[in-house]
Symmetry: C2
Subunit: 433 residues, 2 copies
Amino acid sequence: MYDRIKGFRDFYPAEMAARREATDVIESTARRYGFREIATPALERAEMWTDKSGDEIVEELYAFEDKGGRHVALTPELTPTVARMVVARGQELTKPIKWFSTRPFWRYEQVQQGRQREFYQTNVDIFGSAEPAADAEILGWAADALTGLGLTGDHFEFRISHRDVLGGLLESFDADVDVTAAIRAVDKSEKISRGAYLELLVDAGLDHDAAVEFADLVAAGELDDVVAAADSERVTDAVENLRAVLDAAAAVGAREYCTISLETARGLDYYTGVVFECFDSTGEVSRSIFGGGRYDDLIESVGGPPTPAVGVAPGHATLELLCRRAGVWPEEAIETDYYVLTVGDTRGEAARIARELRERGHVVETDVAGRSFGAQLEYADSINAETTVIVGERDLEAGQVTVKDMASGDQLQVAVEAFPGDHDRPTFETFAE
Amino acid sequence: MYDRIKGFRDFYPAEMAARREATDVIESTARRYGFREIATPALERAEMWTDKSGDEIVEELYAFEDKGGRHVALTPELTPTVARMVVARGQELTKPIKWFSTRPFWRYEQVQQGRQREFYQTNVDIFGSAEPAADAEILGWAADALTGLGLTGDHFEFRISHRDVLGGLLESFDADVDVTAAIRAVDKSEKISRGAYLELLVDAGLDHDAAVEFADLVAAGELDDVVAAADSERVTDAVENLRAVLDAAAAVGAREYCTISLETARGLDYYTGVVFECFDSTGEVSRSIFGGGRYDDLIESVGGPPTPAVGVAPGHATLELLCRRAGVWPEEAIETDYYVLTVGDTRGEAARIARELRERGHVVETDVAGRSFGAQLEYADSINAETTVIVGERDLEAGQVTVKDMASGDQLQVAVEAFPGDHDRPTFETFAE
């Protein structure tokens, strides 16, 4: 017997039912916003990632040579693929382009709770608008998806900032500072000691006093103070943009979930504007649930025309952790509307009833294993059948079937032609009146 | 710019909309039959396939060593994975186990029409029942899925047979015949000359006269003649089982699509009982659309308890070819219920209308790019908006919005509080009466 590979999961029906329900909420919310579904390859040229050396993602890449000698990789993220797709059909596509998709990605990482080597994400992106309304639409979708899952403002918050607030502030202290390194330091600041944090800022090029002042301004998060301290057009513009996004978020109903948090800097270097991360409000799930933001340079960097972009990609595993913590993860159980039980030579009539119920859209099982009355009833119970229709030989001779409510055990006989007859969804209750 | 890898496809929104519609039909049909969705890893131990040497599938495997030194493969099919899953939880699972899933698989094959290196299948299987009713349920599901897509008996047929009819007949001619080789010859018989076919049968161990008689009996497909010629319990039992499956198929409404065809032997050696292939009735799509059958030995062969099994796995690419040929492939276009157009300082009210329409489940877009009236109307047209709601400053001052039917161009003004107000899905028609 072969074992499953570490970091990969099998989803059996009960777990999958919960997962499907959650995914349906997430995706139907995206559809209602007019995001359009796309589907993308599992494999891409490995060079998409290896050409940008030094990235953590390269270390975690499942890369290999295919039988045609291509250097390929299992995609660890969607963004380079959608960038490729936007560039490939850039001229024909009406802007803004609004796309979503749910699929697995792969990274060879340390396996831990909420982090597998195969992990599912729903990517939601807008290409072709630099307006705050686009950032707000991403926030609005994310808020609606989370509240659609049953979460509330007591469970989650969006910590929001703008890359240029930090970048501009850093430059105002020292024009030669390594902004990327300093922003990475901010990104880590909550997980390391203040001493270590300040040391990283000094390593990035700030002198010690500047590092302290910078760290204090960031921690306080007062936009007016930051604007005053920086006294730079870049910071002023960034704060203005951040405020415009928050105003637009108010219009779509997402403002109440947003907290300004200048520490929120996102690890990925390609973000260019507003960035945000979703956190568990209680802090029980300590790391970021997911993050997103604006990445206006990416399409151009892969050979496309200048194309502003903003997006988010919730990972389903951390989302599940958050929902479980909040007690709103869907029940892990399969559901069945009807079990049609056949006893004796009644298979034809049972099949007719099953067929008519299925035509009405219901989940219907019937015997496919030639089992006894008792074994069938036990099976109906195991699949959580709501109603069992017993099609027995003697009943049938009298023109009747028995309708059994599985929760109460109550049952009664009804005319066979009334099942389902004109009823859309007949149950014990339908006939008990 | 990186190029897409050969044999892999990008699905843009319009194509994807058609594909999603088709997949929804296929999957909702499976759900109504009580098949339960599962999800499975993209990677498995390569040994799952390489341990059985000589298989064509091994030549086409995307296999490599992962960073942990594991020999892994992108799964080229689902069956070994579900077998592993059934064995892993065999004791806890209520039988029969009825599972389905839709996902991509990967084979390094020659790329041609309807055959990519990344291809999507919906696998539908029943484990734990050896009864003809289980085989019939698979046929019933397949027939309902195809008719659900808009196909009829004029478009497709299931060619059905039983492995042991050929196996038993071959043994009755010569006990030492290489049955697997001879069945492979039958599988190829329609694609090669009669001479070449007979030669393959002789290679498999039949003498020339026996090969001719065998070939004629198979081509005629008269079950009674085959039973008489073989005079073996194995063939008699196989024919009896095949007939029982056809009777059960009649009960579920699938008999009318089935044609007995002893040539239908399926290339895969793991089939043990009834086998069937779906063909284009007109012959325009010349190869099999998909195939399936009974594989009672597989679970045991991977270390599990004896577990009868039957299943089918339609590939979406060939299914699409069949649907296109029949003119029933869904339209490749995106759909939008509402575009909410905002002119002047009306973003707040526009957002309110968009939000309320989305809460009612509709697909709604609004401006996220700060565009002019004309550009917005053009965009609304490009996304096939059915209704555009124009929220203008002057209109709004008068407490009104304009409702425009995009197909006819007709428009009228309605009270802003009536949109959507109590209406579930207000359109121009709602107010035109």
